[in-house]
Amino acid sequence: MDAKYIALAQMAVGGGLMGMAYALVAYGFQLTYAAGKAVNFGQGELVMLGAFTGISLAGSGLPYGVSVLGAMVAGAALGWFVERVAVRLALKQHNEGWILLTIIVGLFALSFVENIWGRDDRPFPVPWPAAPLDFYGISVTWPELAIAMGALGIMIFVELAKRYTMAGIAVQAVSADPEAAELCGVRSSSAISLSWAVSGAAAAFAGTVIGPVTTVGPTMAAALTLKAFSVAVVAGLDSGFGLVIAGIALGAAENLSGYVLGSGWREAPGLLLLILALALRPQGIFGKKIIRKV
């Protein structure tokens, strides 16, 4: 094959794999939005905290898998905490305060990490082989593959749990009609807390698989949050696996436009498309149309 096309394919594949990372973080947005119509703008900070927790656990000699699990437990606790202190109150007052409160909690997390773990980026040690894989001239590293597998894995796991456990079905019920769910004996607030905890665990998991690719640092959150938020909104905040497609598309589009137009323009076409997509389909490409009731 022509070297030029191989290069383009390399860019698309690399971007798509990174796009899975966006989708994974976006999935966290989706989980909380479905349950309580709120998203955590500090989600990126949860990813970062998860990554740092994972590094610390791995650094204390625990095997990788155990560190990941530990980070997820910590992430779940944090997700629950954010809902409790920042979101529930503001939603009760019916204002947009929760947007700011989640940003503020994220800011605190950033400061906390800077002072506890330091400001430097650091590599995340992983047990995977260091040498990249080669598919017909396209290199893919193991950590990149781990993102894709991990993202799909956790999404499938949570989606299955949503379908095949009562807690999951209850969360869906609360998202469809909280009052009717209450009538079934489901405590809406617990269901919402649960989805925030799962969202937090997913974020922490994201940190442990994204960290090995991007390195781990206090500022790793900012870029991720924005990209993931874009993916979540464009796919539709209630669209399940639409995220994966939107994520891969955004990641690949970024890489390809950076390659073709020059690296400074990397994000531009994606953003332009995003504004257009929203203008044409406000509920997201895969989202369901909202019926206004009066």
Partner: protein, 409 residues
């Protein structure tokens, strides 16, 4: 009512006070990014300077016209942001009793803020910001009397050395990669200028940039690789440099990286790991205790801040030496007045033994047509360093004499 009035009084007094406190201290300000992306440089610089100052204070302070005066520090975080930097400069320059300022990492901050020092005639030693614009802005403006000095191997020197090294290694085709900040862009311009100045023997086959925070450099590297680059000349800071190194590894693109001194930052070396080996960069200082001159400083730093490695050794050593030079200038001026300190900085009589070198009259009277008059570093005081197994070592061990050097100029 009374209580609230007194609180108000406290607020006003503490925030807006311009009255000098005790008269037997010398007030020096340190500014730089102590938070955010370039914090490792800012913090190392600050801690290096503070180390020098605490050593001076432990010895009773500076002898100013027969009086021992302790140094009082004022620290301001400019967060690496230009307008915040400008406000910090405004604040410090209107304090009224500041003798001198040390600092600045980000060239943009220097460009935006230093004019306030110049207006007030306050002495500033820029370190470790290496961007050319920090000094050339004054020669372009034709400023006659400049209180700004630089204590860093500026990009002009560094670019010169990088190009020399590439030529020496026998390369003909190179790619330039740089970050999208002021530092990276001006570094790119310096490199291109140096290539033509050194005979245009290097062909730049690709120029690519990357943004702060980018982790995936495959696109830039594929272009460089397919254009046939034999080396990558690079201007950026730690985390992104590491991403370039690991991207090269991923693509199996085994060409050397030669770039600015920032390739010695720990956040590059640690993050890049094995893929960072072999990166070459100009150094004014290497954290290597086998160098006799550097050893006491390195040990003192490690002890004072309980670390085993300095985040940015160059910044730390430059901050340390800059503080020593400033203290000497105040002593020689016999005054805490900035204008007098400026005069003695331009004409230092005593050779100052620093962690980097013995500094003998590093600066001279400002000449707008020659920025070198206020630049302390020369080509000859800078060596090529190389990353090897997580440490920076001399690329050419025979250059060790430069770092051990007894006298410069």
């Amino acid at each position: 009512m009374k209580a609230s009035r007194s609180i108000l009084a406290v607020l006003l007094a503490t925030s807006f006070s311009t009255v000098a406190m005790a008269a037997d201290v010398v007030k020096i300000a340190i500014t730089g990014p102590f938070s955010g992306g370039s914090a490792p440089m800012g913090v190392s610089m600050r801690d290096g300077a503070k180390l020098a100052i605490s050593q001076i204070n432990q010895n009773g302070g500076i002898n100013v016209a027969g009086r021992k005066m302790k140094i009082e520090l004022i620290e301001r975080d400019d967060e690496g942001k230009n307008d915040r930097g400008a406000l910090v400069a405004q604040e410090i320059s209107s304090m009224g009793d500041i003798s001198a300022v040390i600092g600045t990492v980000n060239t943009g901050v220097a460009v935006m803020g230093d004019k306030y020092y110049v207006e007030k005639g306050i002495v500033k030693i820029i370190t470790p910001a290496a961007g050319s614009a920090s000094m050339t802005q004054w020669s372009k403006a034709g400023v006659k009397d400049l209180p700004i000095f630089r204590f860093a191997s500026h990009d002009g020197i560094q670019a010169q050395m990088v190009v020399e090294k590439a030529l020496k290694l026998g390369f003909t085709n190179v790619a330039i990669l740089h970050d999208a900040t002021n530092y990276g862009v001006s570094g790119r311009d310096d490199l291109i200028e140096q290539i033509s100045r050194q005979g245009g023997k290097l062909k730049v086959v690709s120029v690519e940039k990357f943004a702060i925070g980018d982790k995936d450099m495959t696109g830039q590297l594929i272009k460089a690789k397919s254009a046939g680059a034999q080396a990558i000349l690079i201007w950026g800071i730690g985390p992104e440099l590491a991403a370039v190194a690991s991207g090269k590894e991923k693509l199996g693109f085994k060409v050397p990286m030669i770039g600015g001194w920032t390739l010695s930052m720990s956040n590059f070396i640690d993050t890049a790991g094995a893929s960072g080996n072999g990166a070459l960069m100009p150094q004014t200082f290497i954290e290597d205790e086998s160098i006799a001159r550097a050893k006491p400083f390195i040990q003192a730093y490690h002890k004072a801040y309980a670390v085993s490695r300095i985040p940015s050794p160059v910044s730390a050593a430059q901050g340390y030496d800059a503080a020593l030079l400033l203290a000497e200038a105040i002593h020689e001026a016999g005054s805490t007045t900035p204008s007098k300190i400026k005069l003695s900085l331009e004409n230092l009589k005593v050779t100052v033994k620093g962690a980097i070198a013995d500094w003998k009259k590093p600066w001279s009277k400002w000449n707008p047509s020659n920025v070198e008059t206020h630049e302390a570093f020369r080509r000859a005081t800078t060596v090529m360093g190389k990353v090897q197994n997580g440490r920076v070592v001399l690329a050419n061990p025979s250059e060790k004499f430069v770092l051990e050097g007894t006298a410069v100029k």
